[in-house]
């Protein structure tokens, strides 16, 4: 049986954020969105490491934008989820939702 590469939790969060941001998905909005959603400081380099792994798996593609002065003349690197990436996120979501069912500790409440 072929070994399946499962998405790590951080990779999944990054992939979903890329999908949410659409055409504006580059390092800054991705990490800002992740910080807002998780409430923790996110290392930009960790986001890029996850994006690199996602790109290696064929789940996202990247392209460079134009260099901008507020970035010291450096170009933005935009990311976009591929069809495979969207399928993978959907499958993982389904699997997690199924696993989530009937776990008393995870039902209701905030603690």
């Amino acid at each position: 049986m072929r070994r399946r590469d499962y998405l790590g939790s951080f990779e999944l969060m990054v992939l979903v954020t890329v999908m949410r941001l659409g055409d504006d998905a580059y390092g800054v909005p991705i990490s800002t969105e992740l910080e807002e959603e998780t409430g923790h400081e996110i290392a930009v380099a960790s986001v890029y490491a996850a994006l690199q792994r996602l790109e290696d798996k064929g789940l996202v593609t990247s392209r460079f934008g134009d260099p901008t002065p507020e970035r010291g003349g450096r170009a933005k690197k935009f990311f976009k989820a591929t069809g495979k990436g969207i399928r993978e996120a959907r499958n993982t979501h389904r699997a997690l939702t199924r696993l989530w069912r009937n776990i008393p500790q995870l039902e209701g409440g905030t603690t």
Binding site: V44, A45, Y48, R74, A75, K76
Partner: protein
Amino acid sequence: VTRPGLATWFLRHLGVDDAVIGDLVEQHESGRSGRWFWRQALTATFHVARTHALVTIGAVALGWTALWLFFRFVGSPLSRFDQYLLENGLIDRYSAAWWLRSILMWLVVGFPFLASGWMVTKVAARNELFPVLTFALSVSATILVALVLDTGQADPAPLRMWLTPVPLFLIGGPATAIVVGGFVAARR
């Protein structure tokens, strides 16, 4: 807001992706603190170290091999020849020949460090500074251990030596030569 230029410079030369540096600069320009920038820079450095661990290990091993080969086949015979000249009184102390010999010896000692730093940086190509800094650090650490354990063939070094700049020079000199060699190789 002033950008931590030193951190940006280091990141670029450590091989951190330009897009990552651009993101950090953009966020810093829009109000993130200098401390935030340095924290992010450290994490980015850690990622480079992890990603390029094999290249770094290979480059450092090459640097050490180059040093060993040089001192084994050039440095050591030259040192014995120098000792022969001095012990047999063929060169008078502080004469023109003595000064010439001293300059030559410093060049002979300094050159392999400079050359090995250049070589390590050339081999490491994309992430130029990380391997050369690791190599320089490993050389300094080895010299420090050798000084502390006093493993040389000469008479034991007196303890008062540690109160002089000599150890600092012995530890920092080769590392500086290695880094200078690295900078020469990295210059575009």
